[in-house]
Assembly symmetry: C2
Homo-oligomer: 468 residues x 2
């Protein structure tokens, strides 16, 4: 009576595409722009390339002619000057759900191996069109073209066209075109806002955006100074679980348990490792591959609560106080601005850094609450604001004590950089209430708010003095 | 430089277990109870079996002795008298992520094929213990036992122990035991509340719950009257996408396009189907397997906006006004209670029914806002309240116009039954703001609130009369 079956992960995200942010044509248009732009930025600034990104959304006249229903078929093209995609990998990167180069411990915008595939699925399910990818790597003499669908039941790419040609000149990067059903009038303001907020914190990037109505937005490069790119990190003992530990032991050629811990994990020196192992009754000189299940559980469980040093954070790539201030000035022309980058912290073995920028007055319009600009790993988050831990903190602050009386012209920017952002969903719109992160955001906002209070106090006294 | 790889869906949900509700030992304990109880209820009331469910959470003394760290190792056992799991299916049902009997169009609590596997993964990654399943189907003479792990990299079950024995007596059902790290003191109140709220709307179920401290909660059966079980439905033309349509055509033996639409879809009669096909320029007599890609896109796209009848809803299984009132009376002993089950509606081709119950006064304590009891497909939702569409509606109501002045003793119960609940995440804690659903909730709450107003008006006049 019950029909038992297995489905592929492509079918899972096709059926439940609202989980990935594709709940309707308006959100789908927005999410597709996001997934493509975030991949383009990961392919550039993560690799010390000054980004040049062009985004074009156009009405697809051919589909309009075929299917009728004018103004709802779109072709989105995003091109970057990034590292490109190897020709042998293009099909899987764009046609296999859960295929990614970001499954390592490193701060990138992408993390799930799903983003662009969710957009490809939506395009093929609404417009019946394949994705088109054109790519060339820096050192390569060739440019490669692939048009493909996703075979949903098998979760495999189905290439319907391929090509390659010799490169003239030295272009490198990737150009992705997705055709889909969308709703430009409804999505327009959020898409423009998303691109603006991306440019605000990336003044080292050059961004071109062309809309279906032919409007062109240009965000020229303001500085060649880029934040140091993030680096890959080893797992931290507080964040490793049993299956990961088994993987680590399998792949490692460490000959003793002591070597395994001090070589394969970060923040674990040989002295501390020895002390720890002796405390939990395991022999530091034993062959780690000989650990039985119960000893493994004991090892991993004890590691989680042992006082190893906090994760190093030289691997993280914050925006930096300078760039935050430049960006806020460019966007708002405020009368006052300041920013703070906090020192690194950790939650569940993942390092993170909180940064806050506050801007006041000048060109900012007065509102009944702070205008909150949320960022996670340099991605602007525009939806699901009420559920975000950042909103919880910022709206929970009593701004009166900082001399801010609403309605007031106040902008608060919060950025969280981490090797693992604890999003609430795969659509990456809001961040969970992780206690360590919540407390860091509060400390950072209060710190910068106190500086605002000094300025507003001074301004009030000057106004008072002038009146006398 | 970039390492490209694929991961299995088991590895995806192991790495990102917070997406499924397993963010920490407190949430994990709660979520494991939920996943097991929801499966137990799906195996009983969905099949017209009066549920007898027993839930036991116990400290695992053996693990405490092995690993130390007292009071954090738990064994959760849930047993039901349901339809059981066929012996050839047990391993996949509990050991393969995205394996389910609920991938059909039918109102059930489960829908993703992930729930119990997420709990199994958490148990094996923290306590290093396999899940144990004991099951027997009604017509079978045997009881089957399986202990298994999930092979994370392959997304396959790994059976470590199997057994079977002849049934004495006529027991049928399933007993699942998961061993895991948890935090009972922090999870206790939510788990108890979850079980209470489950019992509130299922007075036909017998539920036993034993806590690690030996407390026993019993919810006896109050009535043998069960709601009619939900039925499987055919897809509705407004909710079918291109890949689903291709699947339908492949599996169907309809010889003409007209037959395909009127046989394979709900709410499409032959007259309407013919009219529709002629309007969009497709031949009703053509072989559906001969449709080219562009005609398919045109067919599916046009279907989405054509005025087919709303989905039938005899397949849905609401709680019903009687059971809602019985449940609210049992839980709160209010002075007034009423309920309403709305007629069926649809969003994106999925039928749904909204039900509301309101209770006032009596044993209800006065609060500063309504106590909101949210339910989706008979599952109580306890977390992420602020993000839920139901909260948005209920907190947006001006209760003064219904004579409710806060602090006030007011309980509002909202149930949404659907063939597809639009959850915000796979952890099933809150429902997205789908416009059709939001508007139905508002209409239903206002309707019952008006009846409350009549009662409170009468009560006020009587109090006034007594004073004179
Ligand atoms: N523009 C691009 N340039 C270079 N590589 C790219 C580009 N777009 C995608 N890729 C490659 O394809 C992979 C898959 O992209 P996809 O968006 O599906 O997942 P992801 O970015 O790794 O994670 P997420 O699901 O969080 O976005 C990336 O990991 C990257 O290796
Ligand atoms: N107690 C049970 N009695 C009978 N069958 C069960 C029981 N528990 C699980 N199953 C079977 O195992 C399958 C997998 O369960 P699982 O919880 O992983 O997914 P689901 O319930 O289908 O969906 P969801 O992820 O939304 O919970 C179910 O679809 C059901 O067929
Ligand atoms: Mg991506
Ligand atoms: Mg389930």
């Amino acid at each position: 009576k019950e029909t038992y079956r297995e489905i592929s992960v492509a079918e899972f995200f096709a059926k439940n595409r609202e989980l990935a942010g594709f709940s309707n044509p308006t959100r789908a248009l927005y999410q597709t722009v996001r997934e493509l732009v975030e991949n383009a930025l990961d392919a550039t600034d993560t690799h010390s390339i000054l980004p040049v990104i062009s985004i074009r959304i156009a009405y697809d006249d051919e589909l309009e002619a075929k299917y009728g229903n004018p103004r709802k078929w779109f072709r989105i093209t995003v091109e970057d000057n990034g590292i490109g995609v190897p020709p042998t990998v293009i099909a899987n990167a764009f046609g296999r759900v859960l295929f990614s180069s970001k499954y390592v411990i490193r701060q990138t915008r992408g993390m799930y191996g799903l983003g662009v595939k969710a957009a490809v699925l939506y395009g093929q399910m609404t417009a019946g069109r394949p994705v088109e990818v054109v790519s060339s790597m820096q050192e390569s003499d060739y440019v490669y073209l692939r048009r493909l669908y996703i075979d949903v039941s098998k979760n495999e790419p189905k290439i319907v066209e391929k090509g390659q040609w010799r490169k003239k000149g030295r272009w490198h990067g990737t150009r992705v075109t997705i055709t889909l059903e969308g709703d430009w009038p409804r999505a327009r303001s959020r898409i423009i806002e998303y691109i603006k907020r991306t440019a605000v914190i990336a003044p080292y990037a050059e961004i071109y955006f062309e809309t279906p109505d032919g409007e062109i937005y240009v965000f020229p490069r303001l500085t060649s100074k880029m934040p140091a790119p993030p680096k890959e990190a080893k797992p931290h003992p507080h964040g490793i679980d049993l299956d990961q530990m088994k993987m680590l032991i399998k792949r490692s050629n460490a000959r003793t348990l002591l070597q395994l811990l001090s070589n394969e994990l970060q923040s674990v020196g040989t002295i501390m490792a020895r002390k720890f192992l002796e405390e939990i009754g395991l022999d530091p000189n034993m062959n780690p591959k000989k650990l039985d299940n119960d000893s493994l559980v004991k090892l991993v469980d004890s590691m989680k609560s042992y006082r190893f040093r906090a994760p190093k954070s030289d691997h993280l790539s914050p925006i930096g106080e300078e760039l935050i201030k430049i960006g806020l000035k460019r966007m708002f022309k405020p009368e006052w601005v300041d920013a703070l980058t906090r020192p690194p912290r950790a939650y569940q073995g993942h390092s993170f850094i909180v940064e806050v920028g506050i801007a006041y007055g000048g060109g900012i319009e007065a509102r009944n609450e702070p205008l909150l600009l949320r960022y996670a790993n340099k991605i602007p988050l525009l939806y699901e604001e009420r559920e975000d831990v950042t909103y919880k903190v910022v709206s929970g602050i009593n701004w009166k004590i900082y001399r801010v009386d609403f309605p007031a012209p106040l902008v608060v920017l919060v950025h969280i950089a981490s090797t693992k952002i604890p999003y609430k969903g795969v659509g990456k719109e809001s961040i969970s209430e992780v206690p360590e992160i919540e407390s860091e955001i509060r400390i950072a906002v209060q710190h910068v708010a106190r500086k605002l209070r000094v300025y507003l106090g001074k301004k009030a006294r000057e106004a008072e003095a002038r009146r006398k």
